[in-house]
């Protein structure tokens, strides 16, 4: 009854690009091969090292959270290939707009581990200087950053640059109006932006099927934006796909959309309990597609990864973890009066008055051992006694 020409595409009919199979075979892909023609075994080994380090960071941060050193942590387990492959495809001048989960991306871009941890320890809302590593701060409002990436990309065009902007987003984010408006603007202004969607199959407890019954990569063509679906657990294919998109953008081809099909092997965050909403079969199924395991097989088959080399990489990752732990637990608590800093660039009389007041208020406690704020949420009414001079 309905017009067959315009029937929705069947999910299974969309081609998922792949260069390394789940069991570690290098396969050909007509579109992507040329974008990784220069990737030699050394480079592949580098990607492997990145992924091992990112996973090690994830393990350590999760442990730190359990030990009360971090307030929260959003695991990346299972998404190492998507994160590493995408960031390694970019040039240093390309600007990244990540979500809260792209801590592996930030790390590869050179964020200090203490900077990454600061956010999750509750010290600050960003650790790094966005302009130092060309990575924006982790975005928590779902989808908002895709508009920032688009605007930044519009700015790149205006400035006549060949760089690109990339906006990371999750499968859940695709439902937000902001992501739609990003694609509308990106298409309208042919902005050199890459929408890099990690479909990790879950938005907290909601399966991707709740957001869309058809592949997420199928949305973009409706805006005139070319898109690709890529195996998000295949670091080489992800690298190639992002290079494809970046090449399009640099040569004036405008925006692209990449759906990296991957899986969130861990909890949504350390506050989440995924056993409440998903079974083990899915986990096992995806465990068999592990991004690190498959590259290990490939590298071993090429003689690039003997026991010694792997041990060396593991030791390097342990060193990273140790540094992470050390820099995290030694982060100094922020100074009270900094809550008034950087709200405005210019002087703001009303806020200044509040600051002065609070400074004087705090000074009233200085002679006593007890600091202020101790009464917060406490039933102990005794804090006040003796705390004021």
């Amino acid at each position: 009854m309905s017009d067959p020409r315009q029937e929705p595409e069947d999910p299974r009919s969309m081609h998922m690009h792949q260069l390394i199979t789940a069991d570690g075979q290098r396969v050909q892909d007509e579109l992507l091969d040329e974008f990784v023609a220069d990737v030699d075994d050394e480079t592949l080994l580098g990607l492997f090292r990145d992924m091992v380090e990112v996973r090690r960071i994830d393990v350590e941060a999760t442990a730190l959270q359990r030990q009360g050193q971090l307030a929260l942590w959003p695991p990346m387990l299972g998404q190492e290939a998507s994160q590493v492959g995408s960031v390694r495809a970019l040039e240093p001048d390309d600007f990244i707009f990540p979500t809260y989960r792209e801590n592996g991306v930030a790390y590869c871009r050179g964020a200090h581990l203490s900077e990454v941890m600061g956010v999750w320890r509750g010290n600050s809302n960003t650790g790094w200087d966005p302009y130092e590593i060309n990575v924006a701060t982790p975005q928590i409002i779902i989808g908002a950053q895709t508009l920032h990436a688009t605007g930044y990309a519009m700015g790149l065009s205006l400035d006549g640059k060949e760089s690109v902007a990339i906006g990371y987003l999750g499968d859940g984010a695709t439902s937000q109006g902001d992501v739609h408006e990003s694609m509308v603007f990106a298409a309208s202004f042919q902005a050199p932006v890459i929408f890099f969607c990690q479909n990790n199959h879950w938005a907290i407890s909601e399966p991707v099927g709740l957001q869309s019954a058809v592949p997420l990569a199928g949305r973009a063509p409706g805006y005139g934006i070319p898109s690709l679906q890529v195996d998000g657990n295949d670091v080489l294919a992800v690298l190639a796909a992002v290079r494809w998109a970046a090449a399009r953008a640099r040569s004036g081809g405008g925006p692209s959309f990449i759906e990296a099909v991957t899986y969130r092997m861990g909890a949504h965050t350390t506050a989440d309990d995924p056993t409440r909403y998903r079974g083990v079969t899915e986990l096992e199924e995806w465990g068999a597609k592990d991004p690190i395991a498959r590259l290990r097989v490939l590298l071993q088959s090429r003689g690039m990864l003997d026991v010694g080399a792997e041990a060396e990489i593991a030791a390097g990752a342990d060193a990273v973890a140790a540094e992470l732990r050390q820099s995290c637990i030694s982060l100094p608590d922020p100074e009270p009066m900094t809550i008034f800093d950087n709200v405005y660039v210019d002087r703001h009389a009303v806020l200044e008055r509040q600051r002065d007041h609070y400074e004087r208020y705090l000074a009233g406690f200085s002679s006593a051992g007890q600091g202020p704020g101790a009464g917060n949420g406490s039933t102990d009414a005794g804090t006040r006694e003796g705390s004021r001079s």
């Binding site: 307030a71 929260l72 809260y100 956010v119 999750w120 320890r121 509750g122 010290n123 809302n125 928590i140 409002i141 779902i142 859940g172 984010a173 439902s175 937000q176 109006g177 902001d178 938005a203 907290i204 407890s205 909601e206 709740l210 957001q211 506050a271 989440d272 409440r276 909403y277 608590d333 922020p334 009270p336 900094t338 809550i339 008034f340 709200v343 009303v350 806020l351 008055r353 509040q354 600051r355 002065d356 007041h357 609070y358 004087r360 208020y361 000074a363 009233g364 202020p372 704020g373 101790a374 009464g375 917060n376 949420g377 406490s378 039933t379 009414a381 804090t383 006040r384 705390s387 004021r388």
Partner: protein
């Protein structure tokens, strides 16, 4: 009487509303299988089905906007916004549609939505998870705004909010989610205090202290501490933030002559401004001192390691009480 946590009380209220009225529906992110990130809706999808407890796509405007359509069709949607800071993508639908539909249609269409919003800080969360956005909605004509401070009110007021034919923003004091209290699950709604009524939470004679939500507990603690020092504080739990029930406030201020308002939201145009202005208008000749506001500062909510400095605590409230009583304190001499 059952001893329930505040979340259990809300859960019980939702359950009761779902049982009593087939037109009641729950909509939100992760409220179904997971039972909500705070487990407030735990078990409800299992018991009432996925057609009444609906996990929605991740889009707040979509949640509110489809709820408007459902209300148009006679349903009573109860929407969950996962955290305070995630309500803004739905702001347009709330302000331009939910709040205005009844007047727009000259009374023909009703919007009996309840929008549940866990709000406030003090739980050590990252950005956007600790905000107090109530003032935006209090300023919006056409909405009602309430906030319970204890399990009994959480239960009763939620049922009243869902039964109310006007849209109600129901702000849940998430810092107090685990606080326990007696809840009469069979309380007669009609006999219960009205949804728009305030309540005297502790009687006192020297100063009137107004608070709501999680801050009520801090206010009561402050009153105890002050009592030990010989100052008697009348604590009023607002419960309804729009409209405000000025009766008990005026009665109290006309006795005490002194008013302190405490809230987590930023000071400028936080609810304290309205209460201070209105009480001054209506009780000017009774006031011995200017109403005092003890509030969050005019800054975006700070990182959690600093939140104890932003949130009014017992000490800051007592400092405000001192000011209201004309005792020299940290703000003395700062009139200019």
């Amino acid at each position: 009487m059952s001893k329930l946590t505040l979340t259990q009380a809300i859960n019980a209220g939702l359950r009761r509303a779902l049982e009593d009225d087939p037109k009641v529906l729950l909509l939100g992110e992760d409220i179904g299988t997971l039972g909500g990130v705070f487990r407030v809706t735990d078990g409800l999808m299992k018991d009432f089905g996925s057609h009444r407890v609906i996990d929605t796509p991740l889009a707040e405007s979509g949640i509110i906007g489809t709820a408007v359509g459902l209300a148009y069709r006679g349903f009573r949607p109860v929407c969950e916004i996962q955290f305070d800071g995630f309500i803004y993508p739905g702001f347009d639908q709330i302000v331009s549609q939910v709040a205005k539909m009844h007047v727009r249609t000259q009374g023909k269409v009703r919007m009996p939505l309840t929008i549940r919003v866990p709000f406030g800080g003090g739980i050590g969360s990252p950005e956007h998870h600790s905000e107090s956005p109530e003032a935006y909605f209090i300023h919006t004509s056409g909405l009602r705004v309430v906030s319970p401070s204890n399990p009994q009110d959480a239960y009763t007021m939620l049922r009243q909010a869902i039964a109310c034919d006007d849209p109600v923003l129901y702000f849940e004091p998430k810092r107090r989610y685990h606080a326990k209290g007696d809840v009469d699950l069979d309380a007669d709604l009609a006999a219960a205090p009205a949804l728009d009524s305030a309540r005297v939470a502790a009687a006192g004679a020297d100063v009137t202290l107004v608070a709501y939500g999680a801050m009520l507990k801090t206010a009561l603690d402050a009153a105890s501490a002050a009592a030990a020092e010989g100052t008697s504080i009348d604590v009023i739990d607002l419960r309804s933030l729009s409209p405000i029930d000025y009766g008990p406030l005026m009665e109290s201020v006309r006795r005490t002559g002194r008013l302190v308002i405490a809230h987590e939201a930023s000071q400028t145009l936080g609810l304290g401004a309205e209460i201070a202005a209105t009480i001054t208008e209506r009780c000017f000749n009774y006031l011995e001192a200017a109403p005092v506001r003890v509030t969050g500062f005019d800054v975006p909510y700070p990182p959690s390691k600093l939140e104890k400095h932003h949130l009014p605590d017992l000490d800051r409230i007592l400092d405000g009480v001192d000011r209201a009583l004309g005792r020299p304190n940290s703000q003395t001499g700062m009139e200019d």
